[in-house]
């Protein structure tokens, strides 16, 4: 049995990817199982999804704690989530990143693979520039790096189960397959089982938390950043009104100011701004 864990953010298609992988494995004649784990169901929140592929029906209904491969959709998650927890010592870490695989930090025996799925997705106009949908490119890379499914079955699964832009998605899968780069681990494999569950913390009596949600920065998954050209700003407040994350404030003169720690780069402010003074800039 091969166990794969996907780490993404709500809206990036990690859950769909885990299902597509299962569909492709089934087309290969395997017995797959796939399921998501959601924390908070909203765009931008970290999500985990799981796929198991076996020759026989899968006899487990639990999350995957010792994966053979970990797939990371958003390099920002490498800093905030313990994505390699429990990853098998000879396993694979695949990350969507423009950086080379040598730059990825992983336990010694773990193979590292990198694919610039965001660029591939954008080149095929998948999703929006603000939120590129990278799952098919990542799956192509995963098929190559692990051999868990054939590229042909993956392309057939995309054709059957991806409702939007099936042709572009097929090409993205092929591009991911051909562009992924993998390197061996930095040392010999060391045997380490799944990480022990941390002891339960002492809970307050009653579900009370005194941490302000302001301390939770929600900007880590931003790919494009709004830049406001104040010379053309009419102080109409539309950006402030439409921002779903309260990430826009005003300065003493009534001009909008970004609270970038909370900006997810959704681009709604740029779309709604009547004089089009807001530009979405990659990276930034």
């Amino acid at each position: 049995m091969i166990e794969i864990r996907f780490h993404g953010r709500g809206g990036q298609g990690a859950v769909v990817a885990s299902e597509l992988l299962a569909q492709a494995a089934f087309l290969d004649g395997k017995q797959p199982q796939s399921f998501p784990f959601f924390g908070v169901e909203r765009r931008g929140a970290p999500v985990t999804a799981y796929t198991r592929v076996d020759e026989r029906p899968v006899g487990l209904r639990t999350s995957i704690t010792a994966p053979d491969a970990v797939v990371v959709f958003d390099p920002g998650l490498l800093a905030s989530e313990s994505v390699t927890d429990g990853l098998r010592s000879n396993g694979l870490l695949l990350v969507n990143t423009p950086r080379p695989p040598e730059s990825l930090a992983a336990p010694p025996g773990v193979r590292r693979a990198a694919v610039d799925a965001t660029r591939i997705a954008l080149s095929h106009h998948l999703g929006t520039p603000m939120l590129p949908i990278v799952n098919t490119a990542v799956l192509g890379a995963l098929a190559r790096a692990t051999g868990v499914v054939s590229l042909e079955s993956l392309r057939r699964a995309v054709e059957q189960f991806v409702p939007a832009r099936p042709e572009e998605n097929r090409r993205a899968a092929s591009d991911g397959y051909s562009e992924v780069r993998a390197v061996e681990g930095t040392g010999s494999a060391t045997v380490s089982g799944p990480k022990a569950r941390p002891p339960a913390p002492r809970l307050p009596e009653g579900p009370i938390a005194s941490v302000s949600s302001e301390t939770i920065h929600t900007s880590a998954w931003r790919t494009f950043t709004p830049v406001i050209h104040l010379d053309r700003c009419t102080k109409c407040n539309f950006c402030w009104k439409f921002c779903p994350d309260a990430a826009i404030e005003f300065d003493a003169n009534g001009y909008p100011v970004l609270r970038l720690a909370y900006c997810k780069g959704c681009g709604i402010c740029a779309a709604e701004c009547p004089p089009k003074t807001i530009e979405m800039v990659a990276g930034a």
């Binding site: 009653g206 579900p207 938390a209 005194s210």
Partner: protein, 394 residues
């Protein structure tokens, strides 16, 4: 103290006044309405220093008291039947947030068919919401139990909401003499609430927000642990009540003439009073029968029931409601409590007084006869032949 001739509903109103409830919110429903009408009068006359929040539904009324409790206020609400069912979702919120709300519930039948008579289906349907449930038998017990309920709800060992119930019309609209305690005595027994885990305006605090599977189970377990401590805490609260007011109501499962009893009936609410008189009659005729009043239904007094079972071979449980596909809900609970008892008596579930039927002395007498017969049934419906007959001929 002052003797007043009060309805069960006004006993609730006076208790809320004496407890110095600070926020009251309720939506009218028969037969509860007069409770909050009276409280509205207390508030408008200035006799009671409380916010009375008018709302458009019971669901909103419960939300108001949850929010007020989350800010540290002492709160009161009341409802009945369909109104209680509408609150169901928020009843879970109240207990999960450990909100020490006290609510009067007038036990009334649930529709359809439409019926406003006494019946326990409404509160039995809320068994699993994490609320403490206390059932009262007299208007005095209603008033006293509401005062005790605040001590219980706010007790550091408990911190859970409490419903104090009374049978529709048999108490809600029945007037009888009630010893209304003085404000000074009540203040001595029930000091102001000491807020715990509450929101403070201006400080960033979250109550009941998202919790993943890792911690959620711990919070559920906490509610269970608090429930485990209720029976003992109630005994302590009753002891203090007796010291201040010179009376108390016997804790979770007060018993009556159970010594050397061959059969015991377990009753709830007003059927207890009638059954007590029947026990006296039967005892005077030489029959060895006794009575136990199930006053605390949630948490269920397992230990007390097992102690009762040690001394008797036949137990009958009188339920004023029916769990479809099972038996009477109290009978189900007694049965579960007896599973681990060293001595397990025969158990009969009597379904009586459903939808406002009288539970008459004759009927109680027949229940004891059934219990003492050669082979008592598992479940026995009272009133049914007559109801069937009415359906055929009516």
């Amino acid at each position: 103290m002052t003797w007043k001739v009060l309805s069960g509903n006004y006993a609730q109103s006076y208790a809320a006044l004496l407890a110095r409830a600070q926020v009251v919110s309720a939506y009218p429903i028969t037969p509860q309405t007069s409770i909050v009408e009276k409280i509205a009068e207390f508030v408008s006359s200035g006799e009671m220093d409380a916010e009375f929040v008018k709302v458009e539904s019971e669901h909103s009324a419960m939300q108001v008291v949850i929010s007020a409790a989350a800010l540290g206020a002492r709160t009161y609400t009341a409802t009945s039947s369909q109104g209680l069912l509408l609150m169901h979702e928020l009843l879970h919120w109240a207990s999960g947030m450990r909100a020490p709300i006290v609510m009067g519930v007038i036990n009334r039948a649930v529709a359809p068919p439409w019926n406003i008579g006494a019946d326990h289906t409404d509160t039995m349907s809320q068994r699993d919401t994490g609320w403490i449930q206390l059932y009262a038998e007299s208007n005095q017990e209603v008033l006293d139990t509401v005062l005790e309920a605040y001590r219980l709800a706010e007790h550091p060992e408990v911190r859970l909401p409490v419903m104090v119930t009374e049978d529709a019309f048999y108490l809600s609209h029945t007037v009888e003499p009630v010893d209304v305690p003085s404000r000074a005595d009540v203040d001595r027994f029930l000091p102001p609430r000491e807020p715990h885990a509450v929101l403070v305006p201006g400080e960033a605090t979250r109550l009941g927000s998202f919790t993943g599977p890792d911690h959620y189970v711990g919070f559920r377990h906490q509610v269970g642990e608090a429930m485990e401590r209720v029976s003992k805490t109630l005994a302590g609260v009753e002891e203090e009540f007796r010291e201040v007011f010179g009376r108390s109501h016997g804790g979770a499962l007060p018993t009556y003439r159970t010594d050397d009893a061959e059969a015991i009936l377990v009753t709830m609410g007003t059927s207890t009073t009638t059954a007590r008189s029947v026990v006296d009659e039967l005892r005077s005729e030489g029959h060895h029968v006794g009575l136990a009043k199930l006053r605390l239904f949630r948490p269920f007094p397992d230990e007390e029931v097992r102690a009762l079972a040690r001394q008797v071979d036949r137990i009958g449980v009188v339920d004023r409601s029916y769990t479809f596909g099972r038996m009477g809900p109290a009978a189900t609970e007694v049965s579960a409590a007896l599973y681990t008892a060293p001595h397990r008596p025969e158990l009969t579930s009597f379904l009586a007084g459903i939808g406002g039927r009288d539970v008459t002395p004759e009927e109680v007498r027949r229940m004891f006869e059934t219990l003492l017969s050669a082979a008592p049934p598992r479940t026995h419906w009272e009133d049914l032949e007559e109801a069937e007959e009415m359906r055929v001929h009516g």
